[in-house]
């Protein structure tokens, strides 16, 4: 049973590929520790990691906040950066503005945002050009998604 809202946040630094995955790994282990089913944890891990990567690849700095209750997992990623001029275009599978050196690392396939959407129940993306981007994702929890944590 999850009582109230469990929350926390992580700072993400743009360009910091070395530490990529720390925020999403922490969220993943928190969710696992709360006894949330592996299918939900798997979807949350995909969505949060791709969101974390987008800050690292496309922004200057950001914060990932998570809020977990017995009804849902809500994650909000706020960043300062160039923003997204055309969200509809950014959502298209295969669209990417990542530079060549990032593509050589195997990033920049333009699959991140579509996969985040696919793995979340609610997906909200807002952006102001020259200011930054806010992404909010929610994964709903059903009673059978919550086991007793050990």
């Amino acid at each position: 049973m999850i009582k109230g809202v469990i929350e926390g946040s992580f700072h993400i630094t743009g360009g910091d590929f070395t530490n990529a995955g720390i925020a999403s790994s922490e969220v993943k282990s928190i969710l696992t520790g709360l006894g949330i089913s592996s299918d939900i944890v798997r979807r949350a891990a995909i969505a949060t990691f791709e969101a974390e990567m987008n800050v690292i690849i496309h922004a200057v700095a950001g914060v990932m906040h998570y809020y977990v209750s017995s009804e849902r997992i809500r994650v909000v990623i706020n960043d300062m950066g160039a923003g997204i001029p055309d969200i509809e275009q950014a959502m298209q599978e295969g669209f990417s503005t990542a530079p060549d050196w990032v593509r050589e690392m195997g990033w920049g396939a333009g699959m991140g945002l579509p996969n985040i959407k696919k793995n979340s129940d609610v997906f909200r993306l807002e952006s102001a050009v020259g200011e930054g981007t806010t992404l909010e994702i929610i994964l709903n929890l059903r009673e059978e998604d919550l086991h007793e944590a050990e």
């Binding site: 990529a20 891990a45 995909i46 990691f49 690392m105 696919k118």
Partner: protein, 111 residues
């Protein structure tokens, strides 16, 4: 099939100290695109790739993959090995190409 047996039969060494070589390899996924692996690899898969940088460890760890084989004699970067050891992710390098490594694994895993 266990990770250690796969390494033996491929004639390669697992470079990571302190990882679970008895782990069951359930399948294999081949890709050099990290978002593709995030989206499509399955838990327990062994991952064949040319990528050598530390982000492969984060991907393997978040997806609960059973290990990473880097092909064409490429070697993981030092930071990659450090991270792999911290997170107990098995990494091996193979002199074979991705095609050859994947072909051998396809037979071994009885696909």
């Amino acid at each position: 099939m266990k990770l250690s047996e796969i390494a033996d039969r491929l004639g390669i060494k697992i470079k990571t100290k302190d990882c679970d070589t008895a782990r069951e390899v359930k399948g294999c996924y081949i890709s050099d695109l990290l978002s593709d692996v995030m989206a499509n690899a399955k838990e327990g898969d062994i991952w064949i790739t040319l990528q050598t940088h530390p982000n492969i460890v984060a991907v393997a760890s978040l997806k609960n993959l059973s290990g990473i084989i880097i092909t064409n004699n490429r070697t993981p970067e030092n930071d990659t090995m450090k991270k792999a050891e911290d997170e107990h992710i098995a990494i091996a390098s193979s002199p074979l190409s991705t095609f050859e490594t994947g072909g051998l694994l396809y037979k071994m895993l009885g696909c």
